[in-house]
C-alpha cells in the first residue's frame, strides 16, 4: 500500500487516525476512522459491528420463551424497553389482553429504567467532556439506588427479563412501592444538584453551546429519533404521537430543545426528561390498580399466533422498533430490530466534519449511542 501511495502526489497535510475499537471515548467498541487536517476532522468513517452478537439470528433459532431472556442484551442500559417492544409486537400478533396492573407496572419500570439510562448517559457524557473525577460519581449514586430497586423485582441489576409476553414477570411487594416513592421524593433535588454543578459550569457551556448543531431536515432525512431530535426542536415522542400502553392516561410534557439543536440542547432535553419521568413514576404509583399481572401463561413452550407485527416504543435513545414475523410455532420466523442508536449513529459523520477532535467526544456523547444497540 505504501508504495502505491508514495508514487501518487498525495497531499501531506492530512492524517488518518484510527479511533477505536478500544478507545475511552467511544463507549465500547465503535471504531471511527478519522481524516484529520491538524486537529480538524475532514472525513469520518464509522466502523460498527464489533459487538455483532447475532441477536436477530438468535431470534429465529430460539423459542420465544428463551429469546425473551436474550433481548435485554440488545440495549443493556434499557432492558425494560427492549423487552417491552418485543412483548408488544408478540401481543399485537397474538391479540392477547394485558391486565391493567401489568400495563401500569410496565410503564412504571420503563420510566425508572429511562431515568437510570439517562443517569448513566450523564456520567459518561461528563467523562467525555474531560471531568474524569467528581461529576460522574453523582449520577451513579442515584443509579445504584434504581438498580437496587430493579434487583428487588427482577432479580438482576441490569438484565431484568421482567416484561414478558402478556404481562410482567412478578408482582412487587407493597414495600417496594414505598421504596420507589422514597426515591422519587428525593430525586428532583438530586437533579437540581447535577444542574448546579453542570448546567452553570462555564467550561461545559463553552464546550456544548453551538457545538454539533443537528439540522432539522438532516435529522429527519437520517431518521433520527429520541432526545437527539427533540433537541433540534421536533416534537416527536411516541408516547404522545402514537401512544401505547397506558400513556394516554398519564399527564406529562415533552421537553424540546430551546436553541438550534446543539449538544447543549440534547443535554438539557435529557435532564428535563428525567424530571418528567420522575413525574410519570409518581402518577403510575398513584393510579396503580390491583389485579392480575399477566394475560398469558409463562411456560417454556410459549406460542403466539401466525402473522406479523411491528411495534415501536419510545426508548431513552429514540424509537425502538421490533418487527416479528411469526408462523405459529414456538419460534419466530424472523425478528427484526429497529434500533434508535443505529439510526442516530448514522448522522454522526455529518455532525463531525469540520469540527476539532475535542468536539467528537462532546457530540458523540450527546447523541447517546449504545453499541450493542447499534450492532445487536
Amino acid at each position: 500500500m505504501s508504495t502505491n501511495l508514495e508514487t501518487t502526489n498525495l497531499k501531506t497535510d492530512e492524517m488518518i487516525i484510527n479511533m477505536g475499537p478500544q478507545h475511552p471515548a467511544t463507549h465500547g467498541v465503535l471504531r471511527l476512522i478519522l481524516k484529520l487536517d491538524g486537529e480538524i476532522v475532514r472525513h469520518v468513517e464509522p466502523v460498527i459491528g464489533h459487538l455483532h452478537r447475532a441477536q436477530e439470528w438468535q431470534g429465529q433459532n430460539r423459542t420465544l420463551f428463551q429469546y425473551q431472556a436474550l433481548i435485554d442484551r440488545v440495549d443493556y442500559l434499557s432492558g425494560m424497553f427492549t423487552s417491552l417492544a418485543f412483548a408488544h409486537a408478540c401481543e399485537q400478533i397474538d391479540g392477547c389482553q394485558i391486565p391493567p396492573r401489568a400495563q401500569y407496572l410496565r410503564a412504571l419500570v420503563c420510566e425508572m429504567n429511562r431515568i437510570s439510562s439517562h443517569l448513566l448517559w450523564l456520567g459518561t457524557f461528563l467523562i467525555d467532556l474531560g471531568a474524569l473525577f467528581g461529576f460522574p460519581f453523582y449520577p451513579f449514586r442515584e443509579r445504584e439506588k434504581l438498580l437496587d430497586l430493579f434487583e428487588e423485582i427482577a432479580g438482576q441489576r441490569m438484565m431484568f427479563n421482567y416484561i414478558r409476553i402478556g404481562g410482567v414477570q412478578r408482582d412487587p411487594k407493597p414495600s417496594w412501592f414505598e421504596k420507589v416513592r422514597k426515591f422519587t421524593a428525593e430525586f428532583p433535588d438530586r437533579i437540581d444538584e447535577y444542574e448546579a454543578i453542570v448546567t452553570q459550569n462555564p467550561i461545559v457551556l463553552k464546550r456544548t453551546k453551538g457545538v454539533g448543531i443537528l439540522d432539522k431536515s438532516v435529522a429527519m432525512d437520517y431518521g433520527v429519533t429520541g432526545p437527539s431530535i427533540r433537541g433540534s426542536g421536533i416534537n416527536y415522542d411516541l408516547r404522545k404521537t402514537r401512544p401505547y400502553g397506558i400513556y394516554p392516561e398519564l399527564n406529562f410534557e415533552i421537553p424540546l430543545g430551546q436553541n438550534q439543536g446543539d449538544t447543549w440542547d440534547r443535554y438539557m432535553c435529557r435532564i428535563l426528561e428525567m424530571r418528567q419521568s420522575n413525574n410519570l413514576i409518581n402518577q403510575c404509583l398513584d393510579k396503580m390498580p390491583e389485579g392480575e399481572i399477566s394475560g398469558k401463561k409463562q411456560i417454556a413452550g410459549l406460542r403466539i399466533k401466525a402473522g406479523e407485527g411491528f411495534s415501536a416504543i419510545e426508548s431513552p435513545r429514540g424509537v425502538l422498533g421490533c418487527y416479528v414475523i411469526s408462523n405459529g410455532s414456538d419460534k419466530a420466523y424472523r425478528i427484526r430490530w429497529r434500533n434508535p442508536s443505529f439510526c442516530n449513529l448514522a448522522v454522526l459523520p455529518s455532525l463531525l466534519i469540520g469540527r476539532p477532535i475535542s468536539d467528537i467526544m462532546a457530540i458523540f456523547g450527546s447523541i447517546d449511542v449504545i453499541l450493542p444497540d447499534v450492532d445487536r
Binding site: I48, G49, H52, A54, E56, W57, Q60, N61, R62, Q66, Q92, I93, V218, M220, D221, Y222, G223, I234, Y236, T241, R242, A306, G307, E308, G309, F310, A312, V319, G321, Y323, I325, S326, N327, G328, S329, Y333, R334, R336, R338, F342, C343, A346, V347, D375, R376
Partner: protein, 179 residues
C-alpha cells in the same frame, strides 16, 4: 440451520387497495395490498416501481411519509422480501412496502438485486448495508455497499435460511448445543 417449507408463514389473500395504494395508483404506480401487519396497510410493489414510489411518498405533501423506520430483508426460501416501514414525523399514518424478489429469476443465485434508495434517503444507507450484509440483497447504485456488521471479508449471509455457520477454532462447539 435450514427450516422446512412447512414452517413458512402462511401467504395471505390479497385485499382491496387502501389509502396509500390508491394514492400510488393515481400517480401511475400499481400495487397490491396484503393484510399482513397488524392494523397497518401493507402493499407489495414491483422492483421497478420502488424508487419512484418511495420518492413520491417521501416528498408529496399529501402523504408525507418522511420517516424511514427500517429496511428489513426476509428470506422465504423461494424468495426474498425487502420490506420498508414508512412512518411520518408529522402525522400518524404508517405504511409497509414489500418488494418480493424471487431467487430463481436472478442470474446470480447468491445475492438478489434491487435498486438502492440511499441516494435520496440518507436513512436507507446503513439499513441497506445491513440488509446486504445479513440477508444478501444487493442494492444497486448504493454509494458504498459493503458489509457493515460482519467483517468485510465475511462469507455468506447469516440470515439466509440455508446459511451454514462457520466452524473453526474460535467457534467449534456444537452449533445446536442450546436447542
Amino acid at each position: 440451520m435450514s427450516q422446512t417449507d412447512t414452517n413458512k408463514p402462511n401467504e395471505t389473500k390479497e385485499m382491496e387497495l387502501g389509502k396509500f395504494g390508491k394514492f400510488l395508483k393515481d400517480n401511475g404506480i400499481d400495487s397490491t395490498r396484503k393484510d399482513d401487519s397488524i392494523n397497518v396497510e401493507t402493499i407489495v410493489i414491483s422492483v421497478k416501481d420502488l424508487e419512484p414510489a418511495l420518492r413520491l411518498l417521501k416528498t408529496s405533501s399529501e402523504t408525507k411519509l418522511n420517516m424511514l423506520l427500517t429496511i428489513s430483508g426476509v428470506d422465504y426460501t423461494d424468495r426474498i422480501d425487502s420490506i420498508y416501514h414508512l412512518w411520518s414525523y408529522d402525522h400518524n399514518d404508517a405504511l409497509v412496502i414489500k418488494v418480493e424478489l424471487p431467487k430463481q429469476s436472478q442470474a446470480n443465485t447468491d445475492t438478489v438485486n434491487l435498486t438502492s434508495i440511499a441516494n435520496f434517503w440518507s436513512a436507507a444507507n446503513w439499513h441497506e448495508r445491513e440488509t446486504y450484509d445479513l440477508v444478501g440483497i444487493r442494492y444497486l447504485r448504493h454509494p458504498y455497499l459493503r458489509r457493515i456488521l460482519n467483517p468485510w471479508d465475511w462469507e455468506g449471509h447469516p440470515l439466509r435460511r440455508d446459511y451454514k455457520q462457520l466452524v473453526d477454532a474460535l467457534n467449534d462447539k456444537n452449533p445446536h448445543s442450546f436447542r
